[in-house]
């Protein structure tokens, strides 16, 4: 991770004031301590207002009407594509397909890119630490073609077994998939190294950036991957937004996936011809208001600076990790040297869901469960973990509140 240490520290109080939801209370007046950012992030006022303003002032459909409103809406939507493309380092906005989120992005690759290329015996390589969105789409298309999904192992500390991953590459591998940052372990994977190995074997690499784009500077060209998927709601943007970046020459070869308006060139009942990417993959009316908001989220994040965000979150991670170690019987799952501010843990004698409910009663929102990562849970042989995941707007005091609530919950349950 290339974290440039910020010269001036962030004014966290001023930042927090821009997130209306952080002022909420729950369960009869307990101040909310929101530590479920890996699940979804909160939204700053500028994002909320961008969505609001779209509906009040600009609402129209895109790419269809020549009237003034239609032009404005199209401008906002295509403007969002430009902003996002630049934010992730895409060479061109035409390489960025706007989707409803990561899940739609990986499924688009599965159905449009992968399915036509798979034959019996082929392999899709993923890893044990992936989110279901980076496993199940591959299974679905493999099942139809006699191909199969294999998963590279990880080390007990939550690091990817890079040598094993690279060792599993080969001519039968039609796609390799890896998460940039694990949503359970926090592990930051060495994507550039994996991409170089994949290139050597001629295997295209898809990176799930859901947990990276909100927390690290991302440059898809520097990473050297072939596909990069991300989701808007985890990066302070609206729900129902996201994107798939792919190399231009790959997108150009991909057949259409969804059929409908905007993705066609000419439709006859006997057969149709299709638009060039990215329009080819954006059938129907998109989440226009959502993308107006997502562009604003990018501007907000850039205003702070991704390097400063990453540095601040590293501070929080260090602090919170140290404090959590004070809880007797607490075990942290995921201790890779390079990790983001995600802490999964178990407490002896207390089930994760019981802990989460009791923390919630104290105002502390964490996620408990399998985190859409069954294979990883199976690897660690645990049914569920608790996960505290931080954003730049969290504070040391919130880590303290987590600790206090955990001690109380443990006293009650154990």
């Amino acid at each position: 991770m290339n974290v440039v240490l910020a010269e001036t520290p962030l004014d966290i109080a001023a930042l927090r004031a821009q997130f209306p939801l952080l002022a909420r209370t729950v369960h009869g007046g307990k101040p909310l301590v929101y530590l479920d950012n890996a699940n979804t992030a909160q939204k700053p006022v500028c994002v909320i207002e961008a969505v609001d303003r779209f509906y009040r002032e600009r609402n129209a459909n895109v790419s269809r009407a020549v009237h003034a409103l239609g032009e404005e809406a199209t401008g906002l939507y295509e403007g969002a594509r430009d902003v996002l493309a630049r934010f992730i380092g895409a060479g061109s906005a035409r390489e960025l397909v706007l989707t409803s989120g990561t899940t739609m992005a990986t499924n688009l690759v599965a159905y449009s890119y992968l399915l036509p290329r798979l034959a019996p015996g082929d392999v899709v390589l993923t890893t044990v630490m992936e989110h279901h969105a980076n496993i199940v789409p591959w299974q679905i298309v493999c099942q139809r073609t006699g191909a199969r999904v294999v998963a590279a192992p990880i080390h007990a500390n939550g690091e990817l077994d890079v040598a094993a991953f690279i060792g599993m590459l080969g001519p039968q591998v039609k796609l390799a998939c890896v998460t940039h940052v694990s949503n359970v372990l926090g592990t930051i994977n060495p994507v550039a190294e994996l991409a170089a190995a994949c290139r050597k074997h001629g295997v295209p690499l898809l990176v799930d950036g859901s947990q990276a784009v909100p927390h690290l500077p991302v440059d898809v060209r520097a990473l050297g991957c072939d596909f990069y998927a991300f989701t808007g709601h985890k990066m302070c943007g609206p729900t129902g937004t996201g994107g798939l970046w792919a190399r231009r020459e790959i997108l150009a070869q991909m057949p259409p996936f969804f059929g409908g308006g905007e993705m066609i060139r000419e439709v006859r009942i006997e057969g149709s011809t299709f638009a060039d990417p990215p329009a080819r993959f954006e059938a129907g009316t998109p989440n226009i208001a959502g993308f107006a908001g997502l562009a604003e989220a990018v501007r907000f994040l850039e205003g702070i600076g991704m390097a400063r965000i990453a540095a601040r979150e590293q501070d929080l991670l260090r602090y919170a990790t140290a404090r959590l170690r004070e809880v007797p019987g607490l075990r942290i799952i995921g201790e890779a040297p390079h990790k983001a501010a995600v802490i999964s843990f178990m407490v002896e004698g207390a089930h994760a869901h019981d802990l989460a409910t009791l923390l919630d009663l104290e105002g502390v929102a964490v996620r408990s469960g399998h985190h859409c990562a069954h294979p990883l849970m199976r690897y660690y042989d645990v049914p569920a973990t608790c996960r505290a995941s931080f954003a730049f707007y969290n504070t040391e005091a919130e880590a303290d509140a987590l600790l206090d609530a955990l001690l109380k919950a443990r006293a009650l349950l154990a």
Partner: protein, 153 residues
């Protein structure tokens, strides 16, 4: 070190439930069950296996094994006293009453007194399925089904 934990709102965790969760009754195995089913909540990862011995259509013996949260274990433990001697129809009736309790529907308390301690779960819809899992699994076993879950109707 941190200051000692202070009293906390224990929400759905009534003292009797925590006591049952810590020291559950009927936990174990029936060697020759007449009916057996496994319950699983994908969302939580809760798992339970329920075993029944039947006599003339009524539950004569009941045991369970669980890898699950306190609410599942407490419910499985408390169920024991309600199940013994009941037939399938009575169990269905009990399940309906219990669902009503969990939904906060009101009405008179359930005759198997211990289960009433779950009344507070009405405030925690996401956890209701935990309390429901053991009974759903018993019903599956009585129906001859091998599997149950309480995430879908």
């Amino acid at each position: 070190m941190t200051a000692p934990a202070q009293a906390m709102d224990s929400g759905p965790y009534a003292a009797t439930l925590l006591a049952h969760a810590r020291a559950p009754r009927h936990q174990g195995t029936l060697l020759h069950p007449d009916a057996l089913a496994e319950g699983y909540n994908a969302l939580c990862g809760d798992r339970i296996t329920v075993m029944l011995a039947l006599r003339q259509g009524c539950i004569a013996e009941y045991a369970f094994r669980a890898e699950a949260c306190a609410l599942v274990v407490a419910a499985a433990s408390l169920l024991g006293e309600c199940l013994i001697g009941r037939d399938a129809e009575e169990v269905e009736h009990l399940a309906a009453r219990f669902d009503g309790l969990l939904a906060g529907a009101g009405g008179p308390p359930i005759e198997c007194g211990g289960l009433n301690a779950f009344a507070d779960l009405a405030r925690f819809p996401a956890r209701r399925k935990c309390a429901r899992l053991p009974l759903a699994t018993v019903r599956a076993a009585l129906r001859g089904a091998a599997h149950a879950n309480t995430e879908e109707a």
